[in-house]
């Protein structure tokens, strides 16, 4: 008989997995993609008593439209999201963010829910999800819970998900007609790069060519992933001239520094964020009037 460090069980359905996670006296952990948990178990000998594998629960992989929202099962892996016509059509920046994760092997394993629940500072999907004002849905033995993703993630590697809760889906409202979205990532190389800085942005012009809607969400920039309302306010209701986009980019940098203070990385991050926000905004608005 070989000593087992923990037991392995497969969740057959979402309620079954929640039951397995909440058996009294058993310290259980969710295995979604494994790309974080299996590494953690390598580093720490005593992570849990039971691993609940949710990778084969079909409902957790579903990507579907529900009224004016898109609902992505928390167990959908990055490849499934990248290949989803629905996500590409309604949230191209989210598809691009998922495409920028790791390489094929990691994208075949890592899941959207795992990226959110693990909440790494450099998680690529988080700024995109926050940019689409996404909501996280979870199931606990006491019932369903939900939070905006921007509230759920408190700081790197820390979320409001209670112990025993299973993240079941991420959903977002389909942006209005004429919206565009972009995701930009700065890493040391294209594949397998930990993000140094990312920017997710969404924008829409009204019939007069003025900015009707804009959302700017830098990633790997602040402890809590959030929209930058001051930078957004520079643009709202205005004609997006190149000079105005530059101003918004400068304000975004000031907003980052206001939140984090000057850090060892500020000298690098400030000019990088300024040019990334400018580039993102130019991509959102260029063919519609700006330079």
């Amino acid at each position: 008989m070989i000593m087992e460090k923990f037991s392995y069980v497969r969740g057959q359905s979402i309620p079954h997995a929640v039951a397995l996670l909440n058996e009294p006296g058993v310290r259980a952990r969710v295995l979604a993609g494994g790309t974080d948990l299996v590494l953690l178990m390598k580093e720490e000998r005593d992570v849990c008593d039971r691993v609940v594998d949710i990778t084969l629960i079909p409902e957790l992989h579903q990507i579907r439209r529900a009224g004016d929202r898109v609902v992505i099962g928390a167990g959908a892996n990055f490849c499934e999201i990248v290949e989803s016509p629905l996500v590409n059509e309604t949230a191209p920046a989210l598809a691009d963010a998922c495409h920028s994760v790791g390489a094929t092997q990691i994208r075949n394993m890592g899941t959207l829910g795992g990226n959110v629940a693990n909440a790494a500072a450099c998680a690529d999907s988080l700024p995109a999800l926050v940019c689409f004002d996404a909501v996280a849905h979870a199931l606990t033995p006491d019932g369903a819970l939900e939070w905006p993703v921007s509230d759920l993630v408190i700081r790197p590697n820390q979320t409001k998900l209670p112990a025993g809760a299973l993240l079941t889906a991420l959903s977002y409202q389909i942006p209005g007609e004429g919206s565009r979205s972009v995701f930009l990532k700065l890493g040391r190389r294209n594949a397998m790069a930990i993000s140094r800085l990312t920017v997710a942005a969404l924008g829409r012009l009204d019939d007069a060519g003025r900015v009707a809607e804009v959302r700017i969400v830098p990633g790997s920039a602040t402890p809590q992933i959030r929209r930058f309302p001051k930078a957004e306010a520079v643009l709202l209701g205005q004609i997006p001239t190149l000079e105005l986009l530059r101003e918004a980019a400068r304000v975004a940098v000031a907003e980052m520094t206001e939140i984090t203070g000057k850090r060892w990385s500020s000298e690098f991050k400030e000019p990088a964020l300024e040019s990334m926000v400018l580039r993102a905004l130019a991509q959102l608005f260029d063919a519609q009037g700006a330079a």
């Binding site: 037991s7 594998d53 490849c79 092997q105």
Partner: protein, 172 residues
């Protein structure tokens, strides 16, 4: 615990602890050492295998996750005569193999790409092997080998092995 799965088309049953990874299971419990351990943390792709047809890093898969599923390792990629298949021959012919350590993973990454796309651009090929590090070749010869295989398979569409036959079913 007992872990039962399909390995390279054959049923496989192994007694192993739940906490080891699939890489360890394949190498040390099944005895198939074609799958290599490079970094052990999911960054180098040397341990790549196909799990239900999808390319994964076997160092990040818990061994029991393979239960009831289909695993293809480099030992399952071969020509009809048991020797190298067309992709593997092209690796040899194009000088894509130097020290060879990354090659099992590279070949599986190539097969995973060709299963989905028989007309990949060079950019597609580069992206497909982006998770596989090679410190010898500089990648050009590997890209050449995959590109040449794609071209030849487009012309013939002949299955090269049992695993390829499945791959071809998906393509067609």
């Amino acid at each position: 615990m007992k872990i039962e799965f399909t390995l390279n088309g054959e049923p496989c049953s192994v007694e192993a602890p739940a906490h080891i990874n699939l890489l360890h299971l394949l190498r040390d419990y099944v005895g198939l050492t074609g799958t290599k351990e490079g970094c052990g943390v999911g960054e180098c792709g040397a341990c790549s295998v196909l799990l239900d047809g999808k390319l994964v890093n076997s160092c990040l898969v818990l061994a029991p996750q393979a239960g009831g599923r289909d695993v293809v390792t480099i030992e399952g990629v071969r020509g009809a005569d048991g020797g190298p298949n067309d992709l593997q021959k092209n690796f040899i012919d194009h000088g894509a193999v130097q020290c060879g350590y990354c090659i099992p993973g590279m070949v599986l990454a190539g097969e995973a790409l060709l299963a989905k796309k028989l007309n990949p651009s060079r950019a597609d090929i580069r992206e497909a092997i982006a998770g596989n590090l090679c410190r010898c070749t500089g990648y050009q010869q590997i890209v050449d080998a995959i590109e040449a295989t794609a071209a030849a398979r487009r012309d013939t569409r002949q299955p090269q092995s049992i695993e390829d036959a499945k791959v071809h079913e998906e393509v067609l």
